[in-house]
Symmetry: C2
Subunit: 340 residues, 2 copies
Amino acid sequence: MTKKTTIYDIAKKLNITAATVSRALNNNPKISEKTKELVFKTASGMNYEQNKLAQALKSGKSFNVGVIVPRIDSNFFSSVIRGIEEELYPEGYHVIICQTHDQQELEIKNINSLLNAQVDGILMSISNAKLEKNAVFNNLVKKNVPLIFFDRKKDIKNVSSITIDDFKGGYEATSHLIQQGCKRIAHLSNNRNLEIFKNRYLGYKQALLDNNIPFDESLVVETFSKVIEGREKTRLLLQMDNPPDAIFSSSDFSALGAIEEIKESGLRIPEDICVVGFSNEPFTKFMELSISSIDQSPMEMGKITARMFLDEVASEVKVKLEKHVVLTPTLIARKSSLKI
Amino acid sequence: MTKKTTIYDIAKKLNITAATVSRALNNNPKISEKTKELVFKTASGMNYEQNKLAQALKSGKSFNVGVIVPRIDSNFFSSVIRGIEEELYPEGYHVIICQTHDQQELEIKNINSLLNAQVDGILMSISNAKLEKNAVFNNLVKKNVPLIFFDRKKDIKNVSSITIDDFKGGYEATSHLIQQGCKRIAHLSNNRNLEIFKNRYLGYKQALLDNNIPFDESLVVETFSKVIEGREKTRLLLQMDNPPDAIFSSSDFSALGAIEEIKESGLRIPEDICVVGFSNEPFTKFMELSISSIDQSPMEMGKITARMFLDEVASEVKVKLEKHVVLTPTLIARKSSLKI
């Protein structure tokens, strides 16, 4: 790349200050017409392109909004992003996306890159990282860059969030399995340092309790949201002396792995083992043995996230209002768990 | 948002030029230690945060690379992005992503937003738009912002590209169906203003010709890469007086729609109709009736795209070298087309 012409280069050539060049290019009335003409002519001759970014540095507005998600190859997150775009585009904002792959280091890099790209706000779902890292978020708040969490949040002062009622999701999924006659329900959980997975687990536990089914710790296994992980953890569950008759998975991907493993073992779904996933990924519907799941209204979540951001930037009030919206999930019962 | 402190504010406060402030903040040896100390102290007192972007404006480097894709909710594109990330992260680059939803207007906005975000290069797969819009790409070339096309390209002077041999993909898929005994092979094509779809279509046509099967224009229907589109177009094909005994779809999503429609009509797959898709999306493997498809090595495509970018920025040569890499696709035959 060739070096870009800057206002400093123009200032040097004309022997005036960079501030004067900048004011001239921005048509500031304090600068004489003669100087303006000279600056424009010189800038043009030097192939200078007035940079909107440089203007953004001054006005504090780029009309770019950054969205950070753990992964883009999940229908849940891509649908949230679609909802955000649909709400922000008509308002003149543009959406740029980064993914963290659940790595804390990448999450911090994402935030810094978006800040350097002068975004007007960051809408994000935090990564699986276990470590404390409120500093990076507090820094955003301090810088007055609007930050809104969706789905996966941290409790940070002055930061609004929109989540779904994951406890209710876990409770509904487990209650449904109990209604189908299941008595030994395993749970493919995930990193419970994240509220979403903790709450799905607590909902599962409460449903057992409310139905007088003893809670068995050995039936709960931490499983990342991947097909291969679902397979491996299910293999271990099936090898138990007293194996489960149902699996409630905190992810559709691990539910799919569970189904593959159960089929391979020769057991029947749903007759021998019922399976319920979480997120209502499109493939759960596509499968011949369609997979029961919990729908999280991702498009709606995206739209609300975007509206929260718009409210924040529109607000003239210096004191930040912290809002927390919680959506109610819906159980979609399909072949993988419908015995009756 | 509160207005950010700029170097102009600091310069005004200290009654020195903005250039001096900038040099001091960048630890330029031409500036005295005394001035540096004064600038740092004042900047700190005014809550000034040195902006990497502002530095980027001067150095011409932001270490952000923009990636533009038609959609992120396709495993093909998300895998290409993963390949790009894996290759660029170790080199200190960060990847920011935009999607066009196949809308030309959004594509141009994406490019401008990324330019305003001062990306060091743009790696993109162009949208389905039919209109001419070389101007926006030529503008990038003129601005010396490295531009590389992957998968969906335009022929622009000085712009490198990496594609797969779509003609071969279409040829292999169709030849496979002929080997399975199919004689009346329909093609769910897509917008053939895009080379990828045009070449898949031409490969299909050539395979028929080479096997002495007459080409029937009425068996080729334009179908967007969506499940619902695949269903609707297949419904029309099945209503023909002389319906097809095989469908080669230019997309796995429309192939899935075709399969749903065929099943609903009571016909059997592969006995009555064989189906082959394109892209090897993960769901094609997950299905109980697994779907035959063409694998495009998306991770590899992403890695090569990234390496082309790195070569371009590393190059000291002012004359641009145009490179065109073509990958060979692989047929993955599965249940949906294996009669024999």
